[in-house]
Amino acid sequence: MRKDFTKIVSEIFNQDPRVMLFLGDIGVYGFRELIESDPNRAINMGTLEQAMIGIAAGAAQEKLVPVVHTIAPFIVERALEQIKIDFAYQGLGGNLITVGASFDYSKLGCTHHCPADITTLLNIPNIKIFVPGNGKEFERLFKNNYSSGYLNYFRLSEHQHEFEFDEHLPLSTVKVGSKATVIAVGPILREVMLASADLDLRIMYCNEISQIESALAESLWQSQKIIIVEPYYSGGLFLSNLSFFNSFHVPILQIGVRRKFLTEYCSYEEMLKLAELDSGSIRKQLIEFAFDGENP
């Protein structure tokens, strides 16, 4: 997804002179041509993330379209107040694009993990949050939204699913089934499909953490149980739709990264297991909840 990101942002950068690129000393090699050709518009800011967000907000006040990029925790957690005040409170548009996701840097330790980004940002109004499942999805989401006037957060991951959807819908149906509805968010769709291929479950998919539209909600009303699977601390989609889900009188299970420091240094796949987000762990939870633990 990172290569797609570089290609797509470069393409838009070259097309739209309003775009100003701020790099937190990450992705610099990928954007080296832009930095060389347009050094006042594509800038390696170094590792001063808080000021970088403030500076980008200043550029947005001057009608430019900032694109800010670095590793997730260094923007979301370190510069949270700047995101809240400089952008969101002042109603400025821009784009925060992060890499690393929950634990893509699984061998680098918890300083580089950010499973809390989505639920953290949801506490700030005026942000649109996107969790693209692959490079093609990022392309569509970024091109459709980068200059919308909103503050957009794009959560990129090195790990992606291979499903393709013809159009962007708040909720897409991936597989039909009757025992429960599973909503997978972003790249975790890969693990969800591996976990549920032979299970009588309806699988739905979304890559934007937004309000579920009423028309699409109707199909959810028919569900006896709902399971939400997210590749970060659970709760993002639920928090965005509190009143909607509260109106259901059906059990809802939320699966996400366990809320604990994942202190092991290991491969991504091993980290998925520790977080109980690998296909085996997800399958176990699906069967326990949707089929009351009985053999489906």
Partner: protein
């Protein structure tokens, strides 16, 4: 003791007393600096320039000055902090765009100012972005990050107006401030922050420089002796009945 701005000082005290909220000494500290920037004497020179107030808790100075220039309805100042009012303890630029930024949390104004200067440079707009920060506010690391960017990228058209009222000294003493700014490649001038002639002259001087700092030596609570350099009043509110006496002392 200057008396020319006593009407505005009275408005500040009255607003704070009515609302039982606000930071009067901080507003009084910067009143002359704000007044001069928006004054007719500087009007022809500031052209497309912009003024950002980073120390948002001193916003009453902005409010009364803008009202005195007929850029803001004085009834809005009178409604300060009341439900439905445009003006509160910290400024909201979405309610009053003339205020430029919504400040309050410290250390946000200077990075935004650097961003605006960078964008202005990119858009080939000839202007100086003036940003007023407090010396206490300089404790925030974002200011130094922003100075680092402005310096290393040789940003032009930025002026930091430092309200040097010594309010941080009880916590972290800000020594050699001139040298600190100079080391970031800024030209520095120190002035009496209550002397209008010096202030106006320094604003013109800054407008002709790429990166400048005006270290304005001020007195917190200036013009109201009971408040001057008295930390007790930082976030304390007089009664309306006390205002005449407080100002008569001056």
């Amino acid at each position: 003791m200057p008396t020319s701005l006593n009407k505005l000082r009275r408005q500040i005290l009255h607003a704070v007393a009515s609302a039982q909220e606000g930071h009067a000494p901080s507003a009084l500290s910067i009143l002359d600096l704000v007044y001069c920037w928006f004054s007719k004497e500087f009007e022809t020179k500031r052209d497309k320039d912009i003024f950002l107030l980073s120390k948002g808790h001193a916003s009453l100075a902005m409010y009364v000055v803008l009202a005195s220039c007929n850029l803001l309805d004085v009834t809005e100042v009178e409604a300060y902090c009341q439900k439905g009012s445009l003006l509160g303890g910290h400024p909201d630029s979405r309610k009053v765009p003339l205020l430029q930024i919504s400040s309050g949390s410290l250390g946000h104004g200077l990075p935004i100012a650097v961003g605006r200067a960078m964008a202005s440079q990119l858009r080939e707009i000839q202007r100086t972005t003036y940003v007023l920060v407090g010396d206490g506010e300089l404790n925030e690391g974002t200011n130094w990050e922003a100075l680092l960017v402005a310096s290393s990228r040789k940003i032009s058209g930025i002026c930091v107006i430092l309200d040097a009222n010594g309010s941080t000294e009880r916590a972290i003493e800000l020594t050699d401030i001139k040298i600190k700014f100079q080391s970031f490649g800024f030209e520095v001038r120190e002035i009496d922050g209550h002397n209008h002639e010096s202030i106006l002259e320094s604003y013109s001087w800054a407008g002709e420089r790429d990166r400048s700092v005006i270290v304005a030596r001020t007195i917190k609570g200036f013009g109201v002796p009971l408040m001057e350099n008295n930390p007790e009043w930082h976030h304390k509110f007089p009664k309306i009945s006390e205002i005449d006496e407080m100002l008569d002392l001056s």
